[in-house]
Structure formats: C-alpha cells, structure tokens
C-alpha cells in the first residue's frame, strides 16, 4: 500500500480512491498549474481558450427545467428515528436534505414562538446522508463471496432455493413501516423467521413497560410537556430514541423570548459528559453502577419503600430537593433512563407513574416504533445458530459481526449457517462473511415506508435514478419467496398496500407530496394501567455492583451512531460535539482519573474488561473529559470499523494510525471498536498503555473562555430580577464613529442565535458543509487545525469557582455552546485589510467574499477577531466524479490558495428574493433561511431582515439578552446572540474577569 505523505494533496481521500483519483486528475491538475502560470502569456498572446460544448437532451423531460430545484418529500434513514425530509433535487440528483416542516416528528411549525415556516429540523447525521448515496465505495452490483460479480438471476436462484430449504431467518434492524411489515409477513408466511435487533438497544424500556403496564413498547416521550426532566444517562438531546424531536420539544420549554418567562428544569445523572448533561441545569456525576441506587433513593423519597439503596455518591439533600421538585411538577415531571437494565427502567416507570406523567409527558398509548429490536429474539437466534438449526440467514440493514458485543462469535456462527445472504450497501464486516451479497439501493434511491410513532406513516421516495446495478431490499425478498408481486417495482407494491391499508381514501399523490400520512388522531388516548405486580424485583437495581477501580462506560457516538456512518466523511470530520476530536473515538477520563491511571492525552491504551464472561479489549487513544465521573473511562461506539470503506482508511499518516497491528488488508482502522465492551451489567475494566502515541485531531484545543464575556450566561433567578443579567458590561457608545455611517436601504440581513436554545448538536455545521461545498480535510489537517467548517460550535467549560489556573480540570464544569460563524461585521476588520477588495460589504449588510478575486494573503483571517475565515491550504480535490454529484451547483468550489467563509448562504438569499419577486411581493420573514437556521432542531439560529421591523431578528434586537460578541472592539456584527439562561439559583462568585490563564493545551 502506498503510504500517504505528509503533504499529500489528496489528504481527504483514501489510498485506493487516491490512486484512481490521481489517474484522473493528476494530469488535469498539472495542466491547470501550467495554465495558471501561463495565463499571463495567454492574455498577451490573445489566444482563445478551448471550446466548451453543450449537449442538450433529445427530448425534454416533462415538467423539469434544467437548473431549477425541485423538492421531494421523503424520510430520513440515518437512524431509526425516521424524521421526515425534503430532498432538494436539481437536474436529477439530490443536493441537499432538509427537514420537512410539516412533520410531527421534526417539523418546527408548532415549535417556538418565532416565524420559521420553512424549517424542519434535521440532525447532523440526517444532513450527511447524501455522502452515503454518492460514496462510490458501495457495491455496484450483486456479488458472490468467492466468485465476485454475479448476475442477479444467479443470486436470486440461490436465495430462493435457500429459503425454500427451510430454517431460514431474516435478521434486520428496526423495521416499522406498514408496507414493509406486510412484506415481512409474507416472508413469515413462507416460514422465514424474522429477528430484529438494534445495535444500541432500547429493549429494556419496552420490556419494563411490558411488565409494569402490560404493553410492550417504547412510549413516546413528550419533552415539550415537561417542566422538570430528570435523566439517568439518557442522552435524549443527542442520540436517544428520537433526538431531533426531543430536542425540539425540550427547547420549547426553554424559550425566554417575546415575553415568556418560565423554563423547564433539566437534571442529569450520568457518568460521561453527554450533550444532554452539558445542557442540564444541574448535573451529577455518578458511575453507571450507582444509577440504580440513585433511582431507588429517589423513588424512596417519592414514597416508594424499596429499602436502603446501595452506596452512591449523590448527597441526600440533592435527592431530597429533586424529589420535592418532581413532586411539585407532578404530571409535568419526567424521569428517563438510558439504562439497558430492565429493573432500572421499571423504577423510572414507577416514578413517572407516581408523578402522574403517563398521559402528559409520556404517551404509552401511541407508542414509538423507533426502536423495535428484540434482544431476546436475538439471543434465541444465536442459540439456534450455535445449535445448527438455522440453515439460511438473510442479513439486511444490520452489521452483527461488528456491532454485537460478541461479534467474533457471530462470525464463527455464520460459518455454521449453510446459506448466508446479505442485502447490503457495501461489503461490511458481516456482508463480507456472507456467501451472497445482494447490492441494495441507498435510502435515497429507493421506495420505503415507516411508522416512527403509531399512526404516523411516512414514505421514502427515491431522489435519483439508481447509480449502480442495485435493487430495493423488499424487491429482493419478494423475488426470493416467489411472491405474486415479485416482478413489480416496489413502488407499485407500496402504493397498493398504502391505498388498501393506510391512505384511507386520501390520494396517493398527496401522500407522496406530503411525505407522510398522519393517522395518529385515531389513536386511543387511554394509557394502560400501572400494575404494581410488574415491578418484581426492581429494587434489586439499587444494589451497587462493585466494578473495581475503573468502570467502563460505552455510549452511542453522536456522529457515527452505531457505526453505520463510519464511512461518512462529513460526520467523521465534524467530530463528537462534546469531545471535539475528529477521526477517532477515545478513552475519555476525567483529568483526575487520567492522573491516577498515569496516562496522558494521546496515549493509545488498551481498555480491557471481563464482559459477561468474555474478554473484551478496545484499543483507543486517551483524551481528557472534564465533568466525567471519577474512576470511569468512557468510549464511544461506532468507530473501529475494519470494512467500512476507504474513507475511514488512509486518512492520517502511518504514525497516526491508531493500531498498526490491525493493519487489515492494507488498511488502518479509525478508532477502536467498543461494542465488545457492551455488557448487560456495568463493566469494571482496566487500562494499559501500549506505548504508542497519536496526535489527536482536535477541533478546539482550549475549552475555557478564560472569563471573557464571549458566551454570556446567567441564571433564571438573576434574569427574572434583571433581564439584562449577564449582559450588563459597559460598552463604548454604539453609534460613535468618525466616518459617516453606511446606510442599508433595502434589506439588511442579520442573524440572532439564542444560546438558550443551542444544544451544541452540530447539525448546522454539517448542513453548512453540504450546502456550501465545504471540503473535508482529513485527520492530519484537522490536527494542524485547518478544518474548513464555516460554522463551528464553540464549547466552553465553565465552573463556579474563580479561575484557578486549572479551570478545565474542575470536576463538574458547566458547559455552554456557542455557534460561531462569520459575524458579517458592519465595520469588518477583514475588509479593510484585503489589498485587492476580495472581500467587501454588500448593500444588504453582508460581508461578501469573492473567491476568484482572492490572492491568499491570509491577512483577513489574521485580522478576524472571531477567527471564522478558512484558507484553502491545498487543493482539496473533488476528484471523484460520483462524489462530485453532491456539490451544490450554485456555490463555487474553491481552489487552493483562496480564503473562504460563511456567506450567510447568499445563494439561498437570492433564491428567496427571486421567488418573492416572481410572486411580486416583499420577502416574508422566515421565507429565507440559511442552511444552519433551516436545520437547527431547536431554532436556536434565527435569520432575517433587520430592516423589517416585523422580523424575528429585528424584534429580538430589543431583547435585553441580545448582545454582540466582542462589542467593545466596535466591529458591529450583524450576528447577535441571546444570553444563555440556566434554570438554577444565582452563583455567589461570578466569573473572574481578569486572569492570565493558560490552561492545559497541547503543544
């Protein structure tokens, strides 16, 4: 294998692709360089450029005009939450995914008190789904393990014969759709057993409800109804069940704009620092093993009599106070837990029941179908495979070899199954062990349906013609069981099923147009009764298991989720929003624990543990995580894929490879696989240094704001006394200027970010990259701090006590998130210093950058107080023709040597103005949305016209919480922020404003 050199132009591309790319582009690149140099000569010589050609179609497709964007409703399949999406399709290819504004799951139409008619939220993972579609590292057709490429017919025949042979099992992830389940039912009728499981299982919740309420299912949590939320390791703002929905709902209770004056309260108990914990008003660090004890203690305070809980580290007064808060909240209280332990879930159910939360904050009548995996079925399947009573296994949409705790065992068991068939996008860890690989369509190429919550049926439709010789998974199954519909396109099957069972007289075309059919109105509102008998031995959860000196806690990675997005460059580069290290997962420890374990940042360690009688090992680099419980090490799932495709390989130098021993078919893997560490009980483990060291690709190297008034925050108590609390520093007079002021007569675009609503999820960051063709640069370049994101989320760790020189070493810091993008300053320091006017101010108040004028002096970036300008250090080559289909044709792909930055999505502004002009009306507030504002699940980012007095941003200018970052240097940004208000009592000692700190930083 060719080893990447330090300064490789193809830094964001893997080795295999690079070779291909180099063949294609090297000659062109050289040519470009030569022509660049020769351009002067050409001007003088007056020679003409080469001819360019245009070849129109022979017949014009009906209703489609080239260059015009059409939107199609569909459903996101990035995770099983199944948010509704709109695909922006241009010239027959999707170029952007956005949330569907009408969806009950992720639409924001009923959300906050602001105008956002066009916005439907979508998380970072949803935004990044286009990568999966265009990534050329997919199967391009059906394959046989040994024979390589085969004909579909051959595969079909083999599969059909295998299924006929009996003892066939279909192993899938969650399948919720009505039509989908009809197909599964047909399979079942032919004797095929269906087993579904979720890599990150929520089965305990369903199981607990089966016992306590007699209804197996995950209820739909209504965070929008809750005034007090207590979470036990349930990262509902990040990854738990339906994060976009939960975040949106939760944020509606945190809104203090336009006269609202109450906030919900969020209390978190957790071991690692999760996104939810970071947003909590009160956060307590407990080990996973203490969770049950704290729950028992809390339940006792609420009237249960479960006996003395085991030892735990939470002070009694905290639990007393929490219990009284929950009591006061009554049915508006909510306790959730991310535990896999059924008993713990039962305790939650008991508390919620006692509070009367069922029916308000928890809806068990209209249950969620977002996690339908059944761990018991899976266990049975494994036993059957072991026993040899499975002769055919069809694996579809899951990757058990990678994501089962004992994946190695599953790999062995696969050998005992005579026929193994994978319906798969790529030859992943499981599929590559199967005999037959049926190349499946990407989610954006195929028809599908879902029912994320009971009664809400959503449709997925293709946004592009199949890129390769692939097939819809359902069509495969129908074909293999020789169904009557086997030769129909799945669309026909789906349509017929919906017309018969779902549409209820509504037209098919309206359903396709909407993307979903909401039949939930017909759901029963009656909640099943609580059965105290179902509690069983729930109180045993309170007995703390001794896990020894170091407890291992694993969690679903925010960006790669259960590992299925490991191939996604946007998500790899975006990094976990809490840890802010990209291109690897990490062994996270609190600084004190790190000291105790004698490890330093970047050390590669082996975390080993005895999990359910297995020896499990995970090799990952160490990283400091302030706020993590002492004596714990947290590792995220989703990394360490060995067969995820080239994007995860070849990034970084040999030295950077996490584990040179794992050189697997010439590729390195990124991070370590933590699935083996997933146990049914809290796991005690140990770490040992390997002696290797890695340079971590940190997005941010410093996590304190050094007491500077950048992310301004206050408490609800103070805010109620004075609405400008936390935002009362003395500033120079705002209108003082020696120059006559420029007037903005028409529009004056502006943005306001509500720091109270921002949960730091990073959806805006990926949305921006997709919309604006922002390149990914790879591990080495991120390490050099050259990531290209136009918008970043600054996470600042703060603490009660005045600065002591070791701020971020504090045990339980508060974390604030602040999206930071070009502030479009009226007095922009960058503009003044550009020698060639590559950047100037538009008459609509935007700081505009003309890339093709830029000569790359980098002076503007130096002079930017917000450091939001990004320089193209190399040619971040877009050299794969398929991958290039993802590029937005309305935005220039920047060449090397030029500066780029947030344009406030100029192309979207112009598009909005154009459609308003066509309708002969003024631009309405909310009709123009930047990509970040559009996708923000919590509407933290608001965009509009400051000259329009009715617009949200203009009205918010009067809010006492409104402030501009670094107002004292009089750059007069047009992006403003609203002070973050935490629902907690005021702190006695304010932040120290003056100190000379230099906290821990990598040198």
């Amino acid at each position: 294998m060719e080893i990447r050199t330090n300064n490789d132009d193809f830094s964001d591309m893997p080795a295999e692709l690079r070779q291909e790319a180099e063949q294609v582009s090297k000659s062109r690149r050289d040519f470009m360089k030569v022509t660049g140099m020769a351009a002067m000569g050409a001007v003088i010589a007056g020679c003409t450029a080469e001819d360019r050609f245009v070849k129109p179609l022979v017949n014009k497709p009906e209703g489609i005009t080239p260059g015009v964007v059409y939107q199609y409703a569909s459903t996101c399949q990035g995770c099983s939450a199944n948010c509704s999406t709109l695909m922006k399709v241009r010239d027959g290819r999707p170029i952007k995914l956005e949330g569907n504004n009408l969806s009950p799951i992720n639409g924001k139409h009923r959300g906050l008190n602001i105008e956002s008619p066009k916005a439907g939220g979508l998380c970072a993972v949803g935004q990044a789904q286009l990568w999966t579609l265009y990534n050329p590292d997919r199967l391009h057709g059906p394959r046989h393990k040994e024979d390589g490429e085969v004909e579909w017919a051959k595969l079909d025949a083999a599969a059909a014969a295998a299924i006929k042979g009996g003892k066939a099992v279909l192993l899938t992830g969650t399948i919720s759709g009505s039509s989908a389940n009809a197909v599964i039912a047909k399979l079942k009728a032919k004797g095929v057993r269906h087993v579904s499981y979720d890599a990150v299982s929520r089965y305990a919740i369903a199981k607990a409800h089966a016992d306590t309420h007699g209804k197996s299912g995950i209820p739909r949590y209504q965070f929008g109804e809750a005034t007090v939320v207590v979470t036990f390791d349930a990262d509902f703002l990040g990854t738990w069940i339906s994060p976009v929905e939960h975040a949106r709902d939760w944020a509606t209770q945190r809104d203090l704009k336009f006269g609202r004056d109450s906030m919900s309260r969020l209390v978190a108990f957790e071991a690692r620092m999760s996104l939810t914990g970071a947003n909590a008003d009160e956060r307590h660090r407990i080990k996973d093993s203490e969770r049950g004890a704290v729950l028992v203690a809390l339940a006792n305070k609420l009237g249960a009599n479960l006996g003395e809980p085991g030892k735990h580290s939470v002070p009694a007064d905290v639990i007393d106070k929490l219990a009284s808060e929950l009591k006061a909240a009554g049915k508006r209280g909510l306790v959730v837990s991310g535990s896999r332990d059924v008993n713990e879930q039962k305790l939650c159910n008991w508390i919620n029941h006692t509070l009367g939360a069922y029916g308000t904050t928890i809806d068990l009548a209209a249950v969620s179908h977002q996690k339908l995996g059944n761990d018991e079925d899976l266990a049975r399947l494994l036993k059957d495979m072991e026993a040899g009573s499975v002769s055919t296994l069809i694996v579809w949409g899951c990757n058990p070899v990678y994501d089962l705790p004992d994946g190695e065992k599953f790999k062995e068991l696969l050998g005992k199954v005579s026929n193994t068939i994978a319906i798969t996008l790529r030859a992943d860890e499981t599929a590559s062990e199967c005999t037959w690989l049926a190349a499946s369509d990407d989610a954006l190429e195929s028809w599908n349906d879902f029912e994320p919550v009971k009664g809400l049926h959503t449709l997925a439709q293709p946004g592009v013609r199949r890129l390769w010789d692939t097939r819809n998974g359902f069509s495969c199954l129908l074909k293999w069981i020789d169904d009557a519909d086997k030769n129909k396109d799945y669309r026909e099957v789906l349509k017929a099923h919906w017309e018969a069972n779902v549409l209820n007289g509504q037209s098919w075309s309206s359903a396709v147009e909407m993307g979903f059919v909401d039949r939930s109105a017909g759901n029963s509102k009656t909640q099943p009764d609580f059965k105290a008998s179902g509690m069983g031995d729930a109180k045993s959860a309170g007995a703390v298991a001794d896990t020894g000196a170091l407890e291992v806690t694993v969690y679903e990675s925010y960006n790669l989720r259960d590992g299925r997005h490991a191939v996604n460059g946007w998500l790899q580069e975006m990094a976990d929003p809490m840890v802010r290290v990209s291109w690897t997962n990490l062994a996270l420890m609190s600084p004190t624990t790190m000291e105790a374990q004698g490890v330093a940042e970047g050390d590669i360690v082996e975390v080993s543990a005895d999990v359910d009688g297995r020896k499990a090992v995970c090799k990952v680099p160490v990283m400091r995580q302030p706020g993590q419980a002492e004596g714990t090490v947290a590792i995220s799932l989703g990394y360490g894929r060995t067969k995820a495709g080239p994007i995860v390989h070849g990034c970084g130098t040999e030295k950077d490879a996490v584990d040179p021993d794992l050189l697997d078919e010439g590729v390195y893997r990124i991070g370590g696989n933590a699935f083996p560490l997933v146990g049914s009980k809290p796991v005690g483990g140990s770490i040992s240094k390997t002696g290797d060291n890695i340079r971590l690709a940190k997005i941010s190297k410093h996590d304190s704001q050094e007491g500077r008034p950048i992310l301004k925050q206050t408490s609800l108590e103070e805010w109620k006394k004075a609405p400008n609390a936390g935002n009362d520093e003395e500033l120079p007079p705002k209108d003082f200027t020696i120059w006559p002021k420029w007037e903005y007569k028409g529009h004056k675009w502006g943005m306001t970010v509500d720091l109270n609503a921002c949960i730091g999820c990073g959806a805006c960051q990926v949305a921006c990259s997709v919309e604006n063709n922002v390149p990914i640069v790879g591990k080495e370049e991120v390490w050099r701090r050259r990531e290209m994101h136009w918008i970043r989320i600054d996470a600042y760790y703060e603490d009660d006590s005045p600065f002591d020189g070791k701020l971020t070493n504090n045990e339980n810091p508060e974390v604030g998130f602040q999206p930071m993008m070009c502030q479009h300053c009226e007095n922009a320091p960058c503009e003044t210093v550009c020698p060639v006017i590559a950047t100037s101010h538009s008459d609509e108040g935007l700081n505009v950058q003309a890339y093709n004028r830029c000569i790359g002096t980098r002076y503007c970036a130096n002079n930017c107080p917000y450091k939001v300008r990004r320089f193209n250090w190399f040619r971040y080559e877009h050299h794969n023709l398929t991958m290039n289909l993802v590029l937005n044709p309305d935005v220039v792909v920047r060449s090397r040597g030029v500066m780029e930055k947030c344009s406030m999505c100029a192309q979207r502004i112009y598009e909005g103005k154009r459609s308003a002009a066509l309708a002969n009306e003024d631009v309405k507030d909310g009709n123009i949305q930047t990509a970040c504002a559009q996708t923000c699940p919590t509407d933290a980012i608001m965009f509009g016209d400051r000259n329009d007095a009715k617009s949200t941003v203009a009205r918010l200018e009067k809010d006492p919480r409104n402030y501009a970052v670094l107002a004292e240097i009089n750059t007069r940004p047009t992006v403003t922020y609203l002070t973050k208000v935490r629902n907690r009592p005021a702190k006695k000692s304010g932040l120290a404003l003056e100190h000379d700190g230099h906290s821990h930083e990598e040198h």
Binding site: W739, P740, N827, E831, S842, R972
Partner: protein
C-alpha cells in the same frame, strides 16, 4: 555659420586645494573655463570656477508634486469616484488611508525623475564615450581646462597654475582626449 572650436590650455594638479585655488584664479582672471575635472567631489570647486546653483532641485520638486497629484487623484478615482464600495464600514473617500501611498509615490516619482534629470543635465547616457583630459583624471589628478579664446592670456594662466603647484601645463587641440591606458606611464611620470 558653425562656431569655430577653440583649442584648450590645461593644467594638471594633484591636490584638491591647489586646483580649487587655480580654478578660482582663472575665474577671477576672466578666462573662459571650459571645465574642471576632478576624480572625486571637491566641495566648493564649482563655486570656485564660477558655477551657480544646480537646477536639478526643480526637477525633483515638480516631479514630486506630480507624484503627489497622480497618487491622490488616482486613488480617489479608483476607490471613490469609479465604484464607491463599502469596505469595512469606512468612508468611500478615506483620505487618511491615502497618506502612505501618496508619500511613497511622491518619493518614487520624484526620485526616479531626479535620476533621469541628472543624466539629462550632465548629458550622460549609457554608451557615451568619456572624454578625458588626463589619463588619471578619474584616479588622482585634477585638470583645469581653459578655452583659448580672446580673453585667454597664456602667461597669466601659467603663472596662476604654477603658483598652485601644477604638475603639468600644456596646450592641446580642441578634440584632444587622453587615453586611460597611459595612466600607468603617467603614474610613473608623476611619481618621478
């Protein structure tokens, strides 16, 4: 009618003070001093032979002024008249920001013009053949050249030269030019 060219009488000196006195004497005697030659700049020698202020100061002044005008008008035109862009919220005609470039262009144009003016006033240009009145006039000899015209009085001149330690006195033709190749011989002779 072309003016008939006069022959020259020249005196060679070895010291700057001598030649200054000789030149002064000749000037006071109303001889037509064709020129004085010196290997280095001798302060006051020009006044001694009766030359006034050099006019080159005017070249510098006027061209410098032209530089100022070009700079100010050009910058105002480019950044204000032609397309007044909003750059950093600054005024369209930011006069303070023009000061550095105005100064630089003044100096640049003034300076380069002075150089060209100097060449023009001295009537020198690349490729011009130097006319020397003594082989070592660019080394260590000073030469006073007097035109032999109606005002010339050879005896008086010789007297002035001799009084000032002239090394050599001679009359030469109007097209006389010394060959620098003779310098070595002359050096020997001089030393003798």
């Amino acid at each position: 009618m072309p003016k008939e060219k006069n022959n020259f009488f020249l005196g060679v000196f070895t010291d700057e003070d001598d030649v200054k006195a000789a030149a002064k004497g000749c000037n006071e005697a109303d001889f037509t001093i064709y020129d004085v030659f010196s290997p280095y700049e001798v302060h006051g020698l020009d006044r001694a032979m009766g030359l006034g202020q050099s006019k080159i100061t005017w070249v510098t002044f006027l061209c410098g002024l032209m530089g100022t005008t070009i700079a100010l008008s050009g910058m105002s035109y480019a950044n204000w008249w032609d397309w007044p862009l909003n750059i950093g919220g600054k005024a369209p005609l930011p006069l303070p920001a023009f000061i550095p470039v105005t100064f630089e262009l003044t100096v640049l144009i003034g300076g380069v013009s002075t150089m060209l003016g100097l060449f023009a006033l001295c009537r020198i240009f690349p490729g011009k053949k130097a006319r020397l009145f003594h082989p070592r006039v660019t080394d260590d000899r000073f030469v006073v050249v007097i035109e032999i015209d109606e005002d010339f009085d050879e005896a008086k001149c010789r007297e002035i030269f001799a009084k000032n330690n002239a090394e050599e006195m001679k009359q030469v033709d109007h097209d006389y030019a010394a060959d620098p190749a003779d310098a070595e011989a002359s050096a020997e002779g001089g030393a003798a």
